[in-house]
């Protein structure tokens, strides 16, 4: 099969590039948080019936909870997470920015890299280094 790559104006792609409305952003986040739980359960091999048993609720409650349309409370999400052995994590980022999560064992990360995670933003990383004045004698601080 021969692949030919072409660039072409695409109004559909332009429509998809626009940010979601507030209402749809809410729906998107509801679906994502439920999907994160489902992905975790898939990785750990936990079935919905098992989640129902662990949360001590009927399976119909789990079906409703996981359809992605319900406005789940943080309390319910934390309870569901704990039932599958996970903690809920959340953050805010400027509109349009992407966020990636990593989970790690604190003991596996050197203290120098683990402490200031909250302050490491892309802006910080992109700040150009400035050099001090060139060394003029042997006692000058090397830049």
């Amino acid at each position: 099969m021969k692949i030919i790559i072409k660039k072409k104006s695409n109004p559909l792609a332009e429509a998809f590039a626009r940010p979601l409305s507030l209402e749809n952003e809410i729906e998107f986040r509801k679906l994502i948080v439920v999907e994160e739980l489902l992905q975790y359960m898939k990785r750990e091999g936990i079935k919905r019936t098992e989640l129902a048993a662990r949360m001590d609720v009927p399976p119909s409650r789990i079906t409703k909870m996981l359809d992605g349309t319900e406005n789940l409370t943080i309390a319910t999400l934390v309870r569901a997470g704990r039932a599958v052995g996970a903690d809920l994590h959340q953050t805010f980022a400027p509109v349009g920015k992407k966020v990636r999560w990593i989970s790690y064992e604190p003991a596996d990360v050197h203290q120098a890299f683990s402490a200031p995670v909250r302050t490491v933003t892309v802006e910080n990383l992109n700040t150009p280094y400035t050099l001090d004045a060139p060394a003029s004698n042997d006692n000058a601080i090397a830049s």
Partner: protein, 144 residues
Amino acid sequence: MKKPVEITLTSFHIGGAREVVTLSLDGKDPALKYLSKLAKKDAAAFDSIHTRIKTVAEYERYQNLQTFRDVGGGVFEFKRNTPRLLRLYAFYDEIDGIGQLIICTNGGDKTSQDQDILAAKARKKEYTLAKKKPDTILNYEIPE
């Protein structure tokens, strides 16, 4: 000499795990037509499908079957019941040099669901067979 089969994949969204494209076989792209018409004529319906596609593309294998239902034969259905009954059909694929894809075949509403599912399966089969032929031409269209 028989003319080689021509496939066109039109990219319209790049998610966290998969790129979403529409499928044109021999010049016909019903999914692109369906979504473009929705975007022009029914903003609320388009936004609801947009939200679903954006969600599914964030994952290599989406698990919420109430949103992206397996209708058999490797075809899945984006499902939306409000503001009106909407269905968009798609399947997963991977192409060397392009990556992990969700390929949209066609769309419709609840009234034409059975025929639309059959059409989606037929288009998937046609695409899969064409992909195996060495003389097939695949046009991969990316937005400017």
